[in-house]
């Protein structure tokens, strides 16, 4: 069915057109929502068609490549504007358009009464388009375009409530948006350097050989460079692939909110809740995982870089899970939980468990979107209350929300037989049996226990115990906010069938792209699964029991958690995200501001003024200012700097020629 | 390689030194009894009648500038006068173009009123 190959161009183009149409044509939230939702839904249909086309192709050649035009063509630097739709991309595209469509539908209800619905829906569509471009790009530069595009949309959508001074729990949306953008730029800069290094050493930025441009694919060349070094001057040397991998890892840390660049994601919750669900849980933040999987050829040939990836992922998984256990804001719990789960995925793909990582990415996309949307339903029902200390006992008022939330929570906690159980178990099993790295496996198991604990705590705080505030008017969502929750709840419940042990649909579907040996089923793994589940159940029950039964009466709005009394500074540290924000503020933000303010004064001449004329001359200058117009002073200073510059440059030249 | 210039540098140093030395010595050693008359610009007893810098209309500047402009351009005529036969017709065309441009400038300044005094 090669005739239908053109359909892949529809996938990113439809939401792009939707964004433009929404911005230009739509007046009023109904029109905007309808156009945007239709665009996202049609894109999903197009993806389904493309997947069907892919299915009809032989497994070894199951990919659709299409080059629209030559984007950049300078000497040997050739970049195409082309799409690549292989099985890996198909998985990502299905998640993006599928969950994306559901969230569009949900937003129809959620954003009712918003003051800027046209912008919201246009940006949401633009985000879907950029994210699709990211996963469908056939080269790194185009991928980078999508990478920056999703960052821009994230920035715009976090700042959707830019006119509010602060949103719970005391975040300024405009500042949160800027923070997300700036932190991401750090990662982006490293990623850009990685791209340049790849081009200069491997001679191409295309993933696969490109017949239209005649460029080779860099992935297949990567292995040749396994033992080549780059010189770093006095710092010694480092393997080329290691350098590329580490630079990419920094980019991944920014986009996927891994330590130490994780600080932007909790603040990003200032955006509307559907945005948190789509961008900051299900899709954009997984771009980093996708990047590593796409570049698996580089990482599998650079063990040093890969082990850094594993370390960063595992440590992030544990520390972020601990942070999640200490939050009282409904969405911040989920944000830290997202960071932690992303840590699982990053650790998995770092160990070479690409299929397992993608599996967890998929199931996480389903159940975390579910949790966020259900959280949105709660926030709606309680009229913008996000503080869990002001909830409690809500399961009678909101039975539907309670049930779907419980499905999501159990799936995230990894309770059999929900989706999270299968995917998380596969990662832990890989760490223990295949990678034979018990330390990492133990960290991940500990994280799983903490994950179950904080979900138990959250469910207890929201739905159990005594009502701490009266929410008589609260009611379950209906209409367009209801049935996406049902669909996602079903997905979160049965998502595990995608990759059941022994069947491994997802692994075998991805096998031609990833060339990863199929996981073997063994008794040891089954035992492992039972143990891990038991730990998770224990952790979850502990969390529920502590907060629903033991300390229920001690939870007071505005007061600290009773656990602080027992855990002290450890609790406080976890609550504040391990002080990273504080550290960045002291070590970077403040010195930077002071430095730029100081330099600003120098550049604007204040300090130079003092330097040149000195103390007693100041009165003279003031006199001269009074007598003459302002300009002579400025021009004189400019000329002084000018002359100083000439002298310095001449001296440098003289020194260089004399040598 | 800058060796030939060393004497100039020495000379410069000596000059600066001598100037400073002489002024300092006379200031340190000489008696100083200033009176109003001694401090006047001309010690001959002439009373100053006003500031040395006097204002005059900016129009003078304009005229002076225009004069210099055309004066310098007319200077090109002298070398041309010496070799106009050698240059022949092409030379005439070139100088003609030059003069047309000059005349256009002239017309412009005339029409814009740069030549009228008020």
């Amino acid at each position: 069915m090669s005739d239908l190959r053109w359909v892949i161009w529809l996938i990113p183009t439809l939401p792009l057109l939707g964004a433009v149409a929404t911005l230009l044509l739509a007046r009023g939230e109904r029109a905007a929502g309808m156009i945007a939702t239709a665009a996202a839904g049609l894109s999903f249909v197009a993806t389904l068609v493309a997947v069907w086309v892919l299915q009809t192709m032989p497994a070894e050649a199951a990919r659709i490549e299409s080059v629209a035009w030559t984007w950049i063509d300078v000497a040997s630097f050739r970049v195409s504007f082309g799409l690549l739709f292989d099985r890996l991309t198909a998985v990502m595209a299905l998640l993006i358009t599928g969950v994306g469509s559901l969230i569009h539908v949900y937003s129809l209800g959620y954003m009712r009464g918003d003051s800027r619905p046209e912008r919201f829906f246009a940006y949401l569509n633009l985000f879907v388009a950029a994210m699709l471009l990211l996963v469908m790009a056939d080269n790194l530069v185009l991928l980078f375009l999508g990478w920056e595009g999703v960052g821009l949309c994230s920035f715009l959508l976090i700042g959707h409530y830019f006119d509010r001074r602060s949103v719970p729990p005391g975040i300024v949306p405009a500042e949160a948006a800027t923070k997300a953008f700036v932190v991401n730029r750090i990662g982006d800069a490293a990623f850009l350097l990685a791209i340049m290094l790849i081009f200069s050493r491997l001679g191409s930025v295309s993933f696969l050989p490109n017949a239209t441009l005649g460029t080779p694919g860099y992935l297949e060349r990567a292995a040749e460079l396994a033992f080549v070094d780059v010189q770093l001057g006095p710092l010694g040397s480092i393997g080329v692939l290691t350098a590329i991998g580490l630079l990419m890892l920094i980019g991944v840390c920014g986009k996927s909110a891994q330590l130490p660049l994780s600080t932007w994601l909790p603040d990003a919750m200032a955006g509307p809740t559907p945005v948190s669900a789509l961008i900051h849980a299900a899709t954009m933040v997984t771009a980093g995982v996708y990047l590593i999987v796409r570049n698996h050829g580089v990482f599998s040939a650079a063990p040093t870089a890969a082990s850094w990836v594993v370390g960063v992922g595992a440590v992030t998984a544990l520390l972020a899970a601990l942070s999640a256990a200490t939050q009282f804001d409904l969405k911040r719990v989920l944000a830290y939980s997202t960071i932690s789960q992303l840590g699982y995925m990053v650790a998995a793909v770092g160990m070479g468990a690409y299929a397992a990582g993608m599996f967890h990415l998929l199931t996480h996309g389903l159940f975390k979107a579910l949790l966020f949307l259900a959280a949105g339903a709660l926030i709606h029902a309680l009229h913008d209350v996000q503080d869990m200390r002001r909830m409690g006992g809500l399961r009678q008022h909101l039975p539907f929300t309670f049930r779907v939330y419980l499905v999501g929570a159990l799936a995230l906690a990894g309770i059999f037989p929900l989706a999270g159980f299968w995917s998380k178990d596969e990662i832990i099993a890989h760490a223990w049996f295949t990678a034979q790295n018990p330390a990492i496996a133990l960290i991940l198991i500990a994280s799983a226990a903490v994950t179950a604990f904080y979900m138990g705590r959250q469910v207890a705080l929201i739905f159990y115990g005594q009502p701490r505030e009266a929410h008589a008017a609260a009611h379950d969502p209906h209409g367009s906010m209801r049935w996406p929750l049902v669909v996602l709840a079903v997905g979160a419940a049965i998502g595990g069938v995608l990759n059941l042990p022994g069947v491994h649909w997802l692994s075998s579907w991805l096998e031609p792209t990833l060339a990863e040996p199929e996981a073997v089923y063994s008794v040891g793994k089954a035992v492992m699964a039972v143990i891990v589940t038991a730990i998770a159940v224990g952790g979850g029950y502990l969390g529920w029991w502590l907060y629903a039964r033991v300390v229920d009466g001690n939870i007071v709005p505005g007061k600290t958690d009773p656990a602080l009394y027992y855990l002290g500074d450890i609790w406080r540290g976890a609550e504040l995200g391990w002080g990273l924000d504080w550290l960045y503020d002291r070590a970077i933000v403040r010195p930077y501001r002071q430095c730029s303010a100081f330099l600003g004064r120098v550049v604007d001449g204040e300090a130079l003024d003092g330097l040149l004329v000195g103390g007693t001359g100041r009165t003279f200058v003031a006199l001269a200012r009074g007598v003459r117009a302002v300009q002579s002073g400025h021009a004189r200073r400019g000329l002084a700097v000018f002359l100083l510059g000439v002298v310095v440059l001449l001296a440098a030249l003289l020194a260089m020629t004399m040598r | 390689m800058l060796d030939p210039y060393v004497p100039i540098l020495v000379m410069l140093g000596v000059a600066i030194f001598v100037a400073i030395f002489v002024i300092t010595v006379s200031r340190v050693l000489g008696p100083q009894r200033p009176t109003r008359r001694k401090l006047m610009p001309y010690e001959s007893g002439m009373e100053p009648i006003g500031p040395a810098q006097r204002r005059f209309p900016v129009k003078f500047n304009l005229v002076a500038m225009l004069f210099i402009l055309f004066d310098i351009e007319v200077i090109f005529l002298f070398p041309y006068a010496l070799i106009y036969k050698d240059l022949g017709v092409p030379g005439l065309i070139a100088m003609g173009t030059f003069f047309i441009v000059l005349i256009i400038g002239m017309i412009y300044e005339w029409k814009r009123g740069a030549l009228t005094w008020d």
Binding site: I72, V74, L193, V641, V646, L653, L654, T657 | M1, V101
Partner: protein, 474 residues
């Protein structure tokens, strides 16, 4: 019999169109009544378009005339076209601005024509004396243009400051030319290059010092640090369309001249000038971008940002390769489009009698005019180097060129300062997207302004999406 030099008319055709047109227009303008001076501007626009057409016609021409003092090649043609495009757009942006500010005088268009003529001559110059001459021509027109809002004191102040510092810098330039002439016995770049290998001892030093002073004189015009101090004051005081014109066109011409001097005339001394220039580029990037961070005045912010961009432009000659030259042309084109679009937005919001261009005046722009905000966003994102705008490709190509030339430190610095730059550009955009803070200032949206803005914005997008045709011209 003295033989006159043979003149290749195809090479000077473009210059003849511009200067001839300007001279004729000077006379014609006298006959146009005071209220109808827009006619002069449109006629000037025709002259510029004519010159551009001549340039396109001769796109493939390479050659020299006037004894090798004037040259034409694809690089020169391309930069010349960038200058002409900048002039055309500036005239479009200025047409109604001047009337609104009651400074509608026919000389504006004529001065722009003479200025752009000087720039074309500077780009085509292959001889230091011609270079000096053309630089003086373009400088003098810009001095007058900077003071064009007479009797507005800020404008007069800008003109005087520009004149003072300009005269100062020209002194260095002439001294440099004299030193080079003394060392090599010539002012023609080709001859200087031929004399290069034979230079020994102090002659080598004189040539290098002369080159340095030449770079100082040219660098002043391109606002390289530390010769940049005039830039914010002059951009701030000059009428906004003039600031727009200055910030792009003269920079393009000067960078082309600088490239010729360094690569053609003194390729021999590259080991000497490349590190110095790299340091200057680094200082320019840092001072420009950090200086822009603290500005509350949008015009001053754009001035500092243009200093920062000059640092990036310098990467072209530093790379000293075909790739660097390609990147330079592309960067100039993208920067011209983006900066003109940004200034166009300011022009659309500037009523008569405004003095401080404070950032608060942009607040709430989105609510009042999404079109203007879109143009501003495109311009600033391109200046910041965010894909898919022209600025991204331009920065990428430049970084790639210096990377290949072996300056990884400059690449890192370029990326870091771009990140800093993104912060202050975004700050402006945030203000524009945010709620209004002051009383809504008036907006002006006449068709020449809109056309100019739309063309510039279109160029940003087209260059960003399909840069191939411009990137690989050489």
């Amino acid at each position: 019999m003295i033989t006159l030099p043979v003149i290749d008319w195809t090479i000077v055709a473009q210059l003849l169109v511009v200067f001839g047109g300007a001279t004729v227009l000077l006379l014609l303008d006298l006959a146009i009544p005071a209220g109808r001076k827009q006619v002069t501007a449109y006629l000037a626009l025709l002259v510029v378009l004519g010159a551009a057409a001549v340039g396109v016609m001769h796109a493939g021409v390479s050659g020299a005339t006037f004894g090798g003092t004037l040259r034409l090649d694809p690089f020169r043609t391309a930069v010349g076209l960038v200058c002409l495009a900048a002039a055309a757009l500036s005239i479009l942006l200025a047409v109604t601005f001047l009337g609104r500010h009651q400074i509608e005088r026919g000389e504006f268009a004529v001065l722009v024509l003479f200025g752009v003529g000087g720039m074309l001559l500077l780009v085509q110059a292959a001889d230091l004396v011609v270079m000096f001459l053309s630089l003086a021509l373009l400088s003098i027109t810009l001095y007058v243009l900077a003071g064009f809002a007479l009797p507005e004191p800020r404008s007069e102040e800008a003109a005087l400051k520009y004149l003072l510092t300009g005269a100062f810098a020209t002194g260095f330039l002439v001294f440099g030319i004299a030193l080079i002439y003394g060392a090599t016995g010539s002012t023609t770049l080709a001859t200087i290059a031929a004399a290069g290998p034979g230079l020994t001892g102090e002659y080598r030093l004189y040539a290098a010092a002369g080159l340095l002073l030449l770079v100082v004189g040219l660098g002043y015009k391109a606002s390289l640090v530390p010769f940049h101090m005039w830039t914010p004051d002059v951009y701030d005081g000059a009428p906004t369309p003039v600031a727009a014109f200055m910030s792009v066109a003269s920079k393009a011409a000067v960078l082309a001249a600088l490239t010729h001097v360094l690569l053609v005339g003194f390729g021999e001394l590259r080991a000497l000038w490349a590190p110095i220039l790299a340091v200057v580029a680094a200082a320019t990037l840092l001072v420009g971008n950090i200086g822009a961070l603290v500005q509350q005045n949008v015009k001053r912010m754009l001035a500092y940002s243009s200093i920062g961009q000059a640092g990036f432009l310098l990467f072209g000659p530093i790379a000293a390769s075909d790739r660097g030259i390609d990147a330079l042309v592309f960067y100039l084109a993208g920067y011209t489009a983006a900066n003109l679009a940004a200034f166009a937005v300011l022009i659309a919001l500037e009523a008569r009698g405004e003095t401080e261009w404070s950032m608060a005046r942009l607040s709430g722009l989105w609510q009042r005019s999404p079109g203007l905000t879109l143009a501003l966003a495109l311009a600033l994102l391109s200046l910041a180097g965010v894909p898919p705008t022209a600025g991204f490709i331009a920065k990428f190509a430049m970084l790639d060129a210096v990377w290949q030339a072996g300056y990884p430190a400059l690449v890192v610095l370029g990326v870091v300062t771009s990140a800093i730059a993104a912060a202050y550009y975004l700050r402006v955009l945030l203000r524009a997207a945010g709620p209004a803070e002051t009383d809504a200032p008036p907006m002006f949206g006449d068709w020449p302004l809109r056309l100019g803005m739309a063309l510039a914005a279109l160029a940003i997008v087209v260059l960003g999406l399909a840069p191939g045709w411009l990137l690989s011209f050489s």
